[in-house]
């Protein structure tokens, strides 16, 4: 585990909500998703989801939606992505829309 990853893991449990959220998302995107450690990523993201303010624009839901899509849990992915779709941050809502499309497609495949 790199020093940076260790630092991120520490920040996830910090009292600063913004730092914790950023750390959880970074941990997921930079390390855990790369290694396929999706369950652990889900745990970290769920641990910060409640701390989210409007300014975060449902970034946690977006990440969770992506994880569930990768886990092939489509109804769950859809539920989280639909929340992210309402984000005021264009980058988040746009990505949510793309992932929702992928989810729809994947779930309709036999």
């Amino acid at each position: 585990m790199t020093e940076n990853e260790t630092k991120l893991r520490e920040l996830v449990v910090s009292d600063n909500a913004s730092e914790a959220i950023d750390a959880a998302v970074s941990l997921y995107t930079a390390y855990l998703s790369v290694r396929g450690e999706l369950e652990e990523a889900e745990y970290f993201l769920l641990s910060v989801l409640g701390l989210q303010a409007t300014s975060h624009g449902f970034i946690v839901e977006l990440s969770l939606g992506e994880i569930y899509l990768d886990m092939k849990e489509y109804p769950r992915a859809k539920r989280f992505l639909e929340v992210a779709l309402t984000s005021s941050q264009e980058s988040v809502s746009k990505r949510a829309s793309e992932l929702l499309e992928l989810t729809e497609k994947a779930s309709s495949e036999p």
Partner: protein
């Protein structure tokens, strides 16, 4: 939610319930300022010792020394729930110490102390008795402590008449917890309006506690819309509130999930995972697991249920393992192509859970194991496992204390064993098994026993013992087919109508039994007797004199009566009886004419 009083507990790990002081880390027993072995500064240890030291009315060091010794036994690093052995030790030590009491006041104070130890050890009868003696103390603290034990004991023993007397007494002496007990009591006896009023008064200075307790009472009153509004108000304070996760869990578990509002429940539960309270986090995951299961999202359900399977508190870990087994079993049942290997894996998973089970979950694990053993073709193995598990469980203190779970376990064991004995024609063993089962669990309806009693194999000793069962449904079913007159006579001693009706209809019932039943002077019983195919002349005569016109009419319609009976009925006071005779072709023309004459 506080397991003691049902209100919401603090989000901070280990913090006591704001209502009753019950520590959430102690899953069964209330902790309050009157609890021993607590590491909190307001515990009995410091207060009672201070209280003793401040008085020079008696031998202070004698009492204080004992309290110090006892409190020193508690391990601050162990959960209170895991310190039952220490409670036992403290009781023994205190009883010994009492033998050397230098005066009455010292004795009262030790009894007061012992009352809370008994209470924490689930020995409510002893807590009450010790509290009564401790209540004689001169010192306010010990009196209040004793009264707390008395109230808690009476409440848990369900002795509400006496409880009411004591709560009035406590209120008059301005006992600080009197109103809290009153709220708890009013909620239990379902006087919800009064409970809500008492709650408003008691928590008037703290709107959060007020709403939290109100919401809980409203849930119990099944006023879910109002409860939801109260919870929503609380939840609106946001995830940073230390109680947030408690409220979210209550809202989801008590309101949203029963109303099948699973998506809403999920949405709010995920926001509570950030709580600092490990217990509430696990509760949230557990609720999420149930939501996922309801949505048939098995993978997610298992993932969430797994979170607490290694929790240091076995009650929590055990419950999570049980949830996990339930999820897997449901998944296998709902999957069409479940393989034998999958059932065997589940069997092993449940077996593992049963080996590590908390006593409260033991019966649920065993039930799951029995079901999966049939699917995994492990019916023989289950007998060995049951023997091993029972040998282990019988050594636990809960075996003697938790009647509900013990009875559930016994019932399951008996079901499995009886099936096996019956299959193997082991009738002696079967008799012994049922004799012991019925003697121990008198109120259960053993279906396997009913089936066995239908066969000719059960001995008279077993039948005699079974007569002692208190399950009326069981007795009524048995009375329909039992054939031995001694047993039928025993059954006829019951006063319950369904049992007597069954006996009246049972062709094996003798005249002695039928006469006994007819003496009850009950129209339904007389009707049942009238319907007998083999009604004796003697019983016909008796029923022809029934106090009920409709019964005599039914008798008058029969074609198997003696001339003497027909004649008596032909001159009956009731026209409907005489009419029945007049139309009865089995009667002679003279008798029918006699009946017609009377009808004119």
């Amino acid at each position: 939610m506080c397991e003691n009083c049902g209100i919401k507990v603090a989000g901070v790990e280990g913090a006591p319930c704001p209502g009753c002081g019950h520590s959430p880390s102690n899953s069964t027993q209330p902790t309050s300022r009157f609890d021993a072995g607590s590491d909190k500064s307001s515990s009995i240890s410091s207060e009672s010792i201070e209280s003793v030291l401040n008085k020079n009315l008696f031998d202070t060091e004698w009492s204080a020394g004992h309290f110090r010794e006892c409190e020193g036994l508690f391990d601050p690093d162990r959960l209170q729930i895991d310190q039952k052995d220490i409670l036992e030790k403290v009781i023994t030590l205190t009883k010994e110490k009492l033998k050397t009491a230098p005066n009455k006041e010292s004795e009262y104070r030790l009894y007061s102390y012992m009352s809370i130890i008994f209470r924490m050890n689930d020995n409510y009868k002893e807590a009450y008795e010790a509290g009564l003696i401790g209540n004689e103390s001169n010192e306010k603290f010990f009196v209040e402590q004793s009264q707390y034990s008395i109230l808690d004991a009476l409440f848990n023993l369900g002795k509400f008449d006496e409880f009411e007397v004591w709560i009035d007494r406590a209120s008059q002496s301005k006992h600080p917890e009197a109103n809290w007990f009153r709220i708890r009591y009013l909620t239990t006896i379902e006087k919800f309006e009064e409970a809500l009023i008492a709650c408003e008064e008691y928590y008037s200075s703290n709107s959060e506690l007020l709403n939290s307790n109100r919401a809980d009472i409203l849930v119990k009153a099944k006023r879910l819309d109002e409860a939801e509004i109260a919870f929503r108000k609380l939840v609106a304070t946001g995830p940073r509130n230390e109680y947030y996760a408690n409220w979210v869990n209550s809202l989801a578990f008590s309101i949203l999930m029963p109303q099948k509002r699973f998506h809403e429940a999920e949405r709010i539960l995920v926001s509570a995972i950030c709580t600092k309270s490990e217990r509430e986090k696990i509760n949230a995951f557990s609720n999420l697991a149930m939501v996922a299961l309801s949505l048939k999202e098995f993978k997610a359900a298992k993932r969430y249920a797994k979170k607490a399977t290694v929790h240091p508190e076995n009650a929590i870990a055990s419950e999570s393992r049980l949830t996990l087994c339930n999820i897997e079993q449901q998944r296998l049942f709902e999957t069409q192509s479940t393989s034998q290997a999958e059932w065997r894996d589940l069997f092993d998973l449940i077996k593992d859970g049963l080996e590590k089970t908390d006593f409260d979950d033991a019966a649920n694990f065993l039930e799951l194991l029995i079901t999966s053993s049939e699917m995994a073709h492990k019916s023989t193995e289950i007998l060995v496992i049951i023997d091993e598990v029972f040998a282990k469980l019988k050594t636990t203190r809960e075996w003697l204390q938790n009647n509900k779970v013990r009875n559930q376990l016994e019932t399951l064991r008996i079901d499995v064993l009886s099936k096996h004995y019956l299959k193997e024609s082991m009738y002696l063993e079967l008799d012994e098994l049922f004799i012991s089962a019925v003697s121990e669990i008198t109120g259960h309806k053993f279906l396997a026993l009913l089936e066995y009693l239908r066969t000719p194999f059960p001995g008279i000793d077993l039948r005699r013992v079974v007569l002692k069962t208190t399950n009326k449904e069981f007795l009524a079913e048995w009375a329909q087919f039992e054939e031995q007159s001694e047993i039928l006579y025993g059954l006829a001693k019951n006063q319950d109508e369904p049992i007597l009706v069954a006996l009246a209809e049972n062709p094996a019932s003798t005249d002695v039994i039928c006469e006994l039943i007819s003496k009850k002077n009950d129209i339904d019983l007389d009707f049942a007797l009238c319907g007998r195919a083999n009604l004796s002349k003697h019983m016909s005569m008796i029923l022809a004199k029934s106090n009920f016109d409709a019964v005599r009419r039914l008798i008058a319609m029969r074609d198997d009566l003696s001339q003497e009976t027909y004649t008596a009925l032909a001159t009956d006071d009731a026209m409907l009886v005489r009419d029945a005779i007049r139309e009865n072709q089995a009667c002679s023309a003279e008798i029918r004419a006699l009946a017609a004459l009377g009808s004119l």
